[in-house]
Symmetry: C2
Subunit: 260 residues, 2 copies
Amino acid sequence: MMKETKRVKVRRVTEEGGRDLQDTVVRESTLTIFLNDRELVTLLCTPAKLDYLAVGFLFSEGLIMTKREIKRVTMDERRGAIWVETKRGKEPPENFLSKRYITTGCGRGMSFLSPPEGGFRRIDSKARVSSEQIHALMTEFQRRSFVHQRTGGVHSAAICTAEEMLVFAEDIGRHNAIDKALGECLLSDIAMKNRVLITSGRVSSEILMKTARSGIPVIVSKAAPTDAGIMIARKCGITLIGFARGSRMNIYSENRRIKE
Amino acid sequence: MMKETKRVKVRRVTEEGGRDLQDTVVRESTLTIFLNDRELVTLLCTPAKLDYLAVGFLFSEGLIMTKREIKRVTMDERRGAIWVETKRGKEPPENFLSKRYITTGCGRGMSFLSPPEGGFRRIDSKARVSSEQIHALMTEFQRRSFVHQRTGGVHSAAICTAEEMLVFAEDIGRHNAIDKALGECLLSDIAMKNRVLITSGRVSSEILMKTARSGIPVIVSKAAPTDAGIMIARKCGITLIGFARGSRMNIYSENRRIKE
């Protein structure tokens, strides 16, 4: 916990006037990921579970499919660098990174809503979850958001069965929080099939692409979806739930998996 | 407004059971920015004020400093592309994009907290704002967040004097919302000096770098800052206010500008 937060001096102003006090804020640091000695990306992130973040990032970007492919993970926490070696030594294509990293000359400008290579894969999981179970999971999700409770400055993500939370992660980035959760599943041999992914963040196209790649059939957020997120959920057969607050929720796709 | 939102079918579940209805969600689209015919970046964004977004993005990235440099802005809204021509025809360096776009081989992995070229420029504005004025501005800020009120899915940003809101923008990305506000200032000849920047989003290092570049001396958010955001605010002499809710707020730096 200590690594994820920091005490700072703050002037708090209320109706009663101002006073100086110490407050807890979230820490922001960088992680540079190397894949087989090639520098891939530098992420701004919360400095915890960095091995999960690196492996989850590589999984989300399609550069690692299974734990078996990983030969070694070496971390230099002080420098904020991590090296992932894979057995196949597979080289990623020059411009492999997803939209949020796309810069110049990638020629994918107008195509983010077109299917990925091989088309949208439909997820045909028969998993079912009740609205009561989602309510219980969301309560547990809030309860475990320690860094958020202390700082108000992070997103959370979790992978669950209908009954229980298997992994939980927090990070200043909503993408990172999900990547940490996926990375922990991969490194700890926790299957993603038939699971429920919970996120505190808005559910955009990129989050849905990540969900589709992981094969997770149900994504739940307390926040809003975008139109493109809903479109991809429908194409991929993913149950997308937004505004899950208390016992209320909006189901935007595949409501056959939800027992009301 | 129509362009920014979309009606979708949703199954709403409450204690009373489920029912089908139509709901409004925010639209997500792409904008590819060309600078002097070179493709720079593709942003995921809300499709409104795209000229402001493009110009604000170029300003935030240091590729445009003033309106005078801009020769022509041409937009193809259907294709989601915009071309900005500058007089000097200045070419950006190969890897110019800020941290959030950094990918491979940029060699900036460990350096995001080191000063930008020329060092941190201190903002020595004598602007002062009272806590009551900030409260009033935040109330107006919430009132104008139409897309957020309807969809819950966007961030907002505004540039203000102590007394009034000069520009206001919404976008699915918190960076984009600020870039839209800065771009409108630039194109509409609204000075940024001595202003107050309001954002709905968390205040990370990147947001502070953007503020520092614009010369705006006060940034106010209803959300949390990160430790790196506070550090840059202190180095640049920017007043950073977080958790501005009702008449309460936390001042993390340069509280001399705030009349309590």
